[in-house]
């Protein structure tokens, strides 16, 4: 089968785009977020069989600020928002962070491939925006860590 020249060029260009570090990073992070969501879906909040245990609670006997986050995630994915708030009041915030990041990875990857001239600006906007969202989301956890250390 003979591929027309213009089509061939497009395929090569798209392949080279997919090998770009930014696209690979976006793809990997998206995959990690999806894995986090799958983890929350697989384990049932009613059975309480989560493999991750709080090390702080194990050592000190005191629950930390992020205790109940897995429970909260599982409950949010099942639509039980009120219960999720009871397990961890920051659960919804962290869940929204992950969801927004998944969406941003897809949107930014699309723009990166579609508009090659604005790639540098796009990366700067992405890095700045994501850092701000990250800080806003995890601020209570950071405050908790630095209050004790």
């Amino acid at each position: 089968m003979i591929v027309p020249r213009a089509e061939n060029k497009t395929i090569i260009w798209q392949n080279s785009c997919l090998r770009e570090p930014y696209i690979i990073i976006n793809f990997s992070l998206g995959l990690v977020i999806l894995l986090v969501m799958a983890y929350s879906l697989i384990f049932s909040p009613d059975k309480d069989s989560y493999p991750v245990v709080c090390i702080h609670e194990k050592i000190t006997g005191e629950p930390c600020v992020s205790c109940g986050l897995s429970h909260s995630f599982s409950l949010i994915l099942r639509g039980r928002i009120n219960e999720a708030f009871e397990w961890n009041r920051y659960g919804m915030r962290v869940f929204l962070f992950f969801s927004s990041q998944l969406l941003l990875r897809i949107v930014f990857s699309f723009f990166y491939i579609s508009y090659p001239l604005t790639r540098k600006q796009l990366i700067i906007y992405d890095a700045t925006g994501s850092s701000v969202i990250f800080l806003l989301t995890f601020m209570p956890f950071l405050i908790w860590i630095f209050r004790f250390s």
Binding site: I25, I55, I59, S66, F134, I145
Partner: protein, 174 residues
């Protein structure tokens, strides 16, 4: 001709190896960063943190050797170092918490809170009207207990009045 193509491929492979390590380091570093700020799993994040630093260091040395771009590698290294530091700080947090518990600072505070709650519950119960109703279809039993402070005051006032009347009616008074 063939040798030239092979040389070019080798150079590209060398350049890519540094870049690939940089990408791997950056992804590991970002995941480490997110894990490091969650107190429950923050201490474990030191392992991927060290891995990201190692990957970034190797990537950086390769990038320097081949004079390829270092932006991604540097980003991976910086984020990896910061994330590892945050993760490391969690050990101090746990140590401090454990020390406080050992000293009994928190156990005293917890006891104070428990005492406060106990007092509040007793105070609330003093003012409460307790009503128990048992109904099995045929028989009905209803018990009402009023143990409010206001009732006690009334009882005390009544007792005082009775006492005054008794005192007034005692003989021998001038």
């Amino acid at each position: 001709m063939n040798i030239n193509i092979k040389k070019k491929n080798m150079e590209e492979a060398n350049k890519n190896s540094g870049q690939n390590l940089g990408i791997a380091a950056l992804i590991t570093a970002i995941i480490t960063f997110v894990l490091a700020v969650i107190p429950c799993v923050g201490m474990i994040a030191i392992i991927p943190g060290i891995i990201s630093i190692v990957l970034a260091s190797i990537g950086l040395s390769q990038a320097q050797r081949n004079e390829s771009p270092r932006g991604v590698v540097m980003a991976g290294l910086i984020i990896g170092v910061v994330a590892t530091m945050i993760s490391f700080s969690q050990y101090f947090v746990t140590g401090k918490l454990a020390k406080n518990i050992e000293k009994g600072k928190w156990t005293e505070k917890i006891q104070e809170v428990v005492d406060d709650v106990e007092d509040n519950v007793i105070r609330d119960l003093e003012d409460a009207n307790v009503s128990i109703r048992i109904d099995d279809g045929e028989d009905k039993v209803e018990i009402n207990v009023v143990s409010g402070d206001s009732d006690r005051e009334k009882i005390l006032e009544e007792l005082e009045k009775v006492n005054e009347q008794v005192n007034d009616s005692t003989p021998g008074g001038k």
